[in-house]
């Protein structure tokens, strides 16, 4: 809970030396439906180094959850690759695959749906511990489960082991879900809106617990949220990616992206977010959009998908070609390994 900012000092993000732990390479998730092809994710590239925090921000339907599930190996992208420690996960077999499977875990949004109501907390945690040999006996599993509960601040842990989910609050359940992810000692956790269903008053403590895990265990996070303020708080030392209808439109260091947004969509988003400070929020300058309509995934606009709403729209350019995510003055290839601030916008890229 203290010295959160210290993360930025020892976080490996500040130098680019580590090889990425997990990489999404131009992944697509296109689903055929009776009413047409839904392009839920349309060419997203992203990588995270060991222990790094990356946030994915966007409104509902932007593909952030699907991207998260692809990263966790729960969905196979219709095209593109997912690399874990540099190797394509679709080619991993046997022990190699298990290493990946255990290495990347998912925490769901809804703690009321993500824990089986028929099992006690102890049973929920014991199953993966036994299955993957982290505990040889059921008593060892119980001991380890208690340790994990301590680790996620569910104390005294003994009180929680024999409880059923319905005896717990939303926040407590979400802690159990995190503890369950930790049973297999993952190196990377995809957290899909983990606090959106938890009371405001205790959201931050959950985030602080996760930040402590990152600090103490070196677990990396892909934090998916619609709330830029939460993303800014959680990813202060890491990066934020902003998604809009299936594509990444801006990617950069959290502090930089929020303070100095480049893409018109990010700017609109930042200017629209209400803040818990009456003076501040009532004085904010708004970015006016040209349209309020959110495009249907079945019928995406040509060129840049944001062009029908974009205040900086230029005829003959934006509706014609799809802008690539690139940092002004750098090539696309450099993106992974550096902390550049990249934008997918013709107008911004032109400078």
């Amino acid at each position: 809970m203290t010295a959160v900012n210290a993360r930025s000092v020892d976080s490996p993000t500040s130098d680019g030396s580590h090889a990425p732990l997990i990489t999404l390479e131009n992944v697509r998730w296109h689903v055929p439906t009776p009413r047409g092809l839904v392009k839920a994710v349309d060419g997203v590239s992203l990588s995270a180094r060991d222990g790094e925090i990356v946030c994915l921000v966007g409104e509902s339907g932007c593909g952030k959850t699907t991207t998260g599930k692809i990263a966790a190996g729960l969905l196979t992208p219709t095209s593109g690759r997912v690399l874990y420690e540099g190797r394509d996960i679709s080619s991993l077999r046997g022990d190699d695959f298990n290493r990946f499977r255990r290495g990347v875990q998912l925490v769901h949004q809804d703690p009321y749906a993500s824990i089986n109501p028929m099992h006690t907390v102890g049973a929920t945690l014991s199953a993966p511990l036994r299955r993957h040999g982290f505990a040889g006996s059921s008593s060892a599993a119980r001991t380890r489960a208690a340790e994990l509960l301590d680790l996620v601040d569910l104390t005294p842990s003994k009180d929680f082991l024999d409880k059923y989910p319905h005896q717990l609050s939303g926040g407590q359940r979400q802690r159990v879900a995190i503890a369950r992810a930790l049973t297999v000692e993952p190196r990377f956790i995809v957290a899909d809106e983990p606090v959106s269903m938890v009371d405001v008053s205790i959201r931050i403590s959950l985030l602080n617990t996760m930040l402590r895990l990152q600090r103490e265990l070196g677990t990396g996070f892909l934090f998916i949220t619609h709330d830029l303020a939460l993303a800014r708080y959680f990813a202060w030392g890491g990066r934020i990616g902003v998604m809009y209808v299936g594509r990444m439109v801006e990617l950069g260091l959290a502090s930089d992206l929020v303070a100095n947004p480049q893409h018109p969509y990010t700017r609109a988003l930042l200017s629209a977010i209400p803040e818990a400070d009456p003076e501040l929020t009532r004085r904010k300058t708004r970015v006016e959009l040209r349209s309020l309509e959110i495009p249907s995934l079945l019928k995406l606009p040509s060129g840049c998908t944001f062009h029908p709403r974009c205040p900086q729209f230029e005829t003959g350019l934006c509706e014609v070609s799809v802008p690539q995510l690139r940092a002004p003055g750098s090539t696309v290839a450099e993106l992974d390994s550096s902390n550049v601030h990249a934008v997918a916008c013709h107008v911004v890229a032109r400078g």
Partner: protein, 358 residues
């Protein structure tokens, strides 16, 4: 079908053929009609092959019987059987099958074995309307009554009325309909002699001239009243209890509280907001119950000696009159399929969410 598929442009990115396929299967009406036709086809096919392929093949049996009883030569007996069963025995099985389907499509269901010279289609035309009248009328009464009582129970939840009706509903629902029929006869007809049970047999009194006269209508109702009571009594409980559950759930919907917040009148809320939404899930059940009640007519008509298609089927089965049996069964199924289709299309009309097609 073509028009329907053309009106929906194939989705971009999918081959036109797939697009047409999706448009056809995506259209609610087209899909429902196709399903209905397929069911009738499946039943026709099943009865055909049952008659032809089962051990103790009735055609062979009948030929044998003709030879044994009347001393007919084999060829003559065979021709007679063929005309009765409305098949051509000289053709390969598949050709016979196709010919059989063709004849069905033209309404030719063969001849009766027992009542010599009677066309099966004529028998069906004479008896089917009575069953449809009786079952249809009962279903309608029972559905409406059940919905009204169920809604009442939901509004007066936990009242004495609710408990009493729930008890009665469960009780009636649990007793098989033929037992109810027997109980009615035993007590109303025999023990207490409240109804002239023997005179009530048949679908109308002998000598009654069909027509739209008061005497005729009264007579028809007089003969149908016991079957109708039986059908209604044995089905109303289900509607009541289902409607109660559905209404209770609907009452808790946000749009109902919101309608109250808007100060709408109670009458309007009960009908357009609660009632209409609560009835929707009952429609799917309604379609299922049509087949059940129609099928149950076999027993009920036998017990009350009501001259409907069910009784014809029972006597055809016990008399091994295969063409009649085959025809009755096919037509019974077709009626149920048709009724289901109607109910489904009506449902599509009532619920705008279905109309759009999923």
């Amino acid at each position: 079908m073509v028009a329907a598929s053309q009106s929906l442009a194939p989705a971009p990115g999918i081959s036109p053929l797939v697009g047409v396929w999706h448009a056809v299967t995506g259209n609610f009406v087209v899909r429902r009609v196709a399903k209905a036709l397929m069911t009738i086809w499946a039943v026709a096919t099943m009865t055909f092959f049952l008659v032809r392929l089962m051990p103790g093949n009735p055609i062979e049996q009948y030929i044998g019987q003709l030879i044994a009883q009347y001393g007919l030569p084999y060829a003559e007996a065979r021709d007679m059987a063929a005309s009765l069963f409305s098949v051509d025995l000289d053709q390969p099985l598949m050709v016979q099958y196709v010919g059989y389907l063709g004849k069905i499509a033209r309404g030719d269901l063969g001849m009766s074995i027992k009542s010599q010279g009677a066309k099966v289609s004529d028998i069906i035309v004479a008896f089917l309307p009575w069953t449809i009248f009786c079952v249809g009328f009962s279903l309608l009464i029972s559905f409406i009554l059940g919905i009204a009582l169920g809604a009442l129970m939901a509004y007066w939840r936990d009242s004495v009325l609710d408990y009493a009706l729930t008890m009665i509903g469960s009780l009636l629902h649990s007793i098989p309909n033929y037992l109810i029929a027997m109980i009615l006869i035993i007590f109303l007809g025999v023990r207490w002699e409240l109804l002239p049970i023997v005179k009530m047999r048949g679908s109308m009194s002998p000598g009654m001239q069909p027509g739209f006269t008061i005497a005729f209508v009264v007579d028809v109702l007089f003969h149908a009243v016991l079957p109708i009571i039986t059908y209604v009594v044995t089905t109303v409980g289900t509607w009541m209890l289902t409607m109660k559950a559905s209404t209770t759930a609907t009452l808790e919907e946000d749009y109902v509280s919101f309608a109250r917040a808007k100060g709408l009148t109670d009458g309007r809320i009960r009908t357009a907001y609660v009632g209409r939404n609560a009835v929707l899930p009952l429609f799917t059940q309604f379609t299922l119950s049509i087949g059940f009640v129609f099928g149950g007519s076999v027993l009920i008509e036998s017990i009350f000696v009501y001259r409907g298609i069910g009784q014809v089927l029972v006597s055809a089965v016990s008399g091994r009159d295969y063409p009649v049996m085959q025809g009755c069964f096919l037509i019974t199924t077709a009626s149920v399929v048709f009724a289901n289709l109607l109910a489904d299309l009506l449902y599509g009309y009532i619920d705008p969410r279905v109309r759009v097609g999923q």
